[in-house]
Subunit: 547 residues, 2 copies
């Protein structure tokens, strides 16, 4: 059992990340936002003057929890509760940025030390009728860590930061067993001591946790090479109010349904993941990023599809549409150092779309894979671009959430949403979501800029990731909720999934019946009733409201 | 919707496959069996003089079923019922080979035409209290199609042979939608008309169905290149007594738990799979098999592990242990034409172990993959063998079940069992299963020959597939049951899975609590109660007996 040498700091409660990385948009960009979208600069941001509802944790419950984790690990101070008052969706941030906000917060933040304490905390909460919100990095953008109490009088947030160990490395089997509270950079640092990597780099990488990756079916920027997080999971240990589960006894099994797949994506509503055994790989000695230009989004998508179907994908394969390509080119200064965002291209021909490809592995493997991929990309009409284009993407690849804060500061509404479907259905889905978002926001008097990229590519289909920017309306929360509703309806009515990697949380639960049908929802409820008979786990997430 | 041009014939009821492919062991082999294992030749086989319990289907149930599928598709004749009296485990065959056997059989065999009829049959059976055994190819070797009636007065077998269409091909998305009653060769033939293949070739290929592959998490001989069947499934349509489920809206999703993974491996106990959408690939223009010799099983396993961990696996990668290598060498005549079995090697050096590798794809892809793999195999101490060794394996790769019939005819007990675990745990598991099998059979006065191969290879571990041959004892069914019990206990006590690709059925259900724990079993029961409230679906399979 090894703990990380240093810990990742907590994020700002009213924005993303840490203070010294905050982005202030250059005047040229704010001027452009004004011209293009009618964004009116807002007054400079100060830390909001927040108030929290008082802690309502009954004393007997508090005592029972303290008996499990120690009194010092049941935290009821406003500072700690504020840090657990929700996730990082734009709506979360808008709520916190209001004048004198009054925020929902958990009645206590409880910090268990290990699996046994998690089990005991869940048992105590079930006994005392206290809702439990499992909490990793707090990076959810779908309301997944909302401190909702459901039908209970009190709610605690179960912060897993003390479960922060690398439990075991099995180098021969290429697996590592990790505790859920490890932040991704901490896990990578511990694995690097063994020459190993998970290779899982979602945009939330700098603050997200191992447990969160598993509970939300995270997908990283190198998913084409390393697989989605759920692909990497060999075994899970889960604590539930009804006891524990140890799932995954082999690299593959025909011993009935794969129950790991019920807890991957269970978002804290079925249990608390306390150990994750994952496939690991040697730290790649070689890494090579390249940028490619395609005349249009369709041509670039065809190139990515051919790569996937030829089993010739680079580790990273992504493609911005025309709008995103143009905006990123405009955002990147003449020095080619962009403030962030999905892609940046200082030397892109006017028009067209930009793809980023990234190769990782031994020098020989990279050379072989690059050679095969290059032939396919060029054959599909791609044109390789000079190096800075790809370097710009890598430099800014975790910066988009900081850019969002800067845009919110500048008086813009900005949010993302994502989905996935089969290749043949992708063009219609793309058009439908753009139309829904554009129509709804234009109807509210705030015509948007809608950017899109393909970030995850499979032989049978791909994801679409949309970024929406508009001027804020009088009620920006209602403004976005209406937009999101239209986008979600467009997604589900086109047969696509309501989330490729953001998960369900509170924001997508209304579409779960469209996603899995009435009987699918009934199955999910039956599973929950078995592992969480009192219904204390993460109320209001994952499952649609009871009819 | 396209139906196959011709149908695969039914199998012999008391053995595997079709009459003209039956194998009669040469006298040299029977003599060897006598010398080595004390096998006494039994009298020549004649078709057993069988009797079935009479059909007990109540007339009102029969009428309700006839109203759904038409009277001609509710079959109660002994010939049809006999063909559905169970699967193809050695115990199944021993039961049928007894003198004047009296066999359990379904009270009727019902043949629905489509999804709607399956739903209606399930509803009718739930209403009338009739158990339902879904039936594809009838190739189960774990009692998965046993006509058990559970607590019901009657049981029907739901034979899905009329759901035999290729519903759709989406060439752009590289997927095809198939009905479950298609036999694998029929499905391959329909896909070949589009230049496509599933690439799924388990040993049961010639008689197994698409629905069965999904319901049992089948794994084919080319799994290293094409993936297990569950990896290939993009979407499922399932009929249950509680209604239907359509699962799978994208190549990947974070919209909660993956419910497809509850129905893959559900073995007819949760519903009837009526449509399967799978990834397909172009028929490979190039196919190349090779054989490699390794000084011992450990060295060969290390080579396969390195291939998997370097993402350099051929489409086929398998390795026989010393015993299996020697037996296959002995079985293959001087002409190099073996009667079947997992591997055959006319030109293997004495001692050591034989691996088979197979490459598939474009000529360039095969060349590149072969070059990378060859370096790893040679680097791990492997020695390439002349071509006939691999050709022998391919020629006999579906023949092992015929060889089993021949061995049973010759008076031998022969059966297989399989498992999987991590690479680091593989040597101890191998030793433990061998010891359990050898100890149990030796203790019964019938010391066995135990052969093993690795047939499915992953970065984090591999499967072990054991073949056991011994002289029959007075009660061969009890003889094998004791052996199987010892092997299963060794497998689960070593942390391995009770089945890598044979599934659970009746034979493995006793180990399901070891596999997923009490709470895992409770979750499975809750799912079943939701989709099958009356409990009519495949009684006695998958779930352990109620405590």
């Amino acid at each position: 059992m090894t703990a990380p040498a240093s810990r990742v700091p907590d994020m700002l409660w009213y924005g993303w990340g840490v203070p010294d990385r905050q982005i202030h948009l250059p005047d040229s960009v704010t001027a452009l936002l004004g011209q293009a979208l009618g964004v009116h600069p807002s007054p400079p941001r100060a830390e909001p003057d927040v108030r929290l509802a008082e802690s309502a944790l009954p004393p007997d419950a508090a005592g029972a929890l303290a008996a499990v984790v120690g009194a010092g690990h049941v935290r009821t101070g406003d500072d700690v509760r504020l840090l657990h008052s929700g996730g990082k969706s734009t709506i979360d941030l808008l709520r916190r940025r209001r004048d004198h906000p009054v925020l929902d917060a958990p009645d206590a933040v409880v910090l268990p030390a290990d699996h046994a304490q998690v089990l005991a905390v869940l048992a105590a909460c079930a006994r005392h009728g206290v809702a439990v919100v499992p909490f990793g990095g707090g990076t959810s953008v779908v309301g997944g860590v909302e401190p909702a109490r459901g039908r209970f009088a009190a709610v605690i947030t179960l912060d897993l930061r003390r479960l922060d160990r690398l439990i075991a490395v099995d180098a021969e089997s290429a697996t590592a067993t990790l505790q859920p509270g490890l932040k991704a950079p901490e896990a990578e640092s511990l694995l690097a001591d063994h020459g190993l990597t998970l290779g899982h780099y979602p945009q939330s990488f700098e603050h997200a946790t191992i447990g969160g990756f598993a509970a939300t079916r995270s997908s990283g920027q190198s998913s084409a090479g390393y697989g989605r997080f759920d692909d990497l999971v060999v075994a899970l240990r889960v604590a539930t109010p009804a006891g524990e589960l140890c799932l995954g006894r082999a690299p593959a099994s025909a011993a009935g349904p794969d129950l790991r797949q019920l807890f991957l994506g269970s978002e804290g509503a079925f249990g608390v993941i306390t150990e994750v055994t994952v496939r690991v790989r040697p730290v790649p000695p070689t890494q090579l990023d390249e940028a490619w230009w395609f005349p249009d989004f369709g041509a670039g998508a065809t190139a990515l599809r051919r790569l996937a179907q030829a089993d010739a994908l680079p580790a990273i394969a992504r493609l911005s549409d025309e709008a995103e390509t143009a905006v990123n080119a405009a955002l990147s200064g003449p020095a080619g150092a962009p403030p962030g965002g999905p892609a940046a291209a200082p030397a892109v021909p006017a028009g067209g779309t930009l793809a980023i490809t990234g190769y990782e592995g031994t020098a020989e493997a990279v050379a072989a894979r690059r050679s095969a991929a290059t032939a396919i990309l060029a054959g599909a009409g791609g044109m390789p671009l000079p190096e800075p284009a790809a370097a710009g993407w890598r430099a800014g690849r975790f910066a988009a959430p900081y850019l969002r804060d800067g845009l919110l500061d500048a008086g813009a509404l900005v949010e993302t949403l994502e989905t996935a479907t089969s290749w043949s259905a992708l063009p219609a889905l793309y058009a439908a979501v753009r139309a829904a978002v554009t129509g709804t926001l234009t109807g509210q008097g705030t015509p948007p800029l809608v950017l899109c990229h393909i970030s995850h590519v499979y032989p049978t289909g791909a994801s679409l990731y949309f970024t929406v920017v508009a001027a804020v309306a009088a009620d920006p929360i209602a403004q976005w909720q209406a937009t999101k509703r239209a986008a979600g309806d467009a997604i589900t009515s086109h047969g696509a999934t309501i989330s490729h990697h953001h998960a369900v949380g509170t924001d997508h639960r209304g579409w779960m019946t469209a996603e899995v049908g009435d009987l699918g929802v009934a199955v999910l409820r039956a599973v929950k009733a078995t592992v969480d008979p009192a219904g204390i786990l993460n109320p209001g997430k994952l499952l649609p409201p009871e009819p």
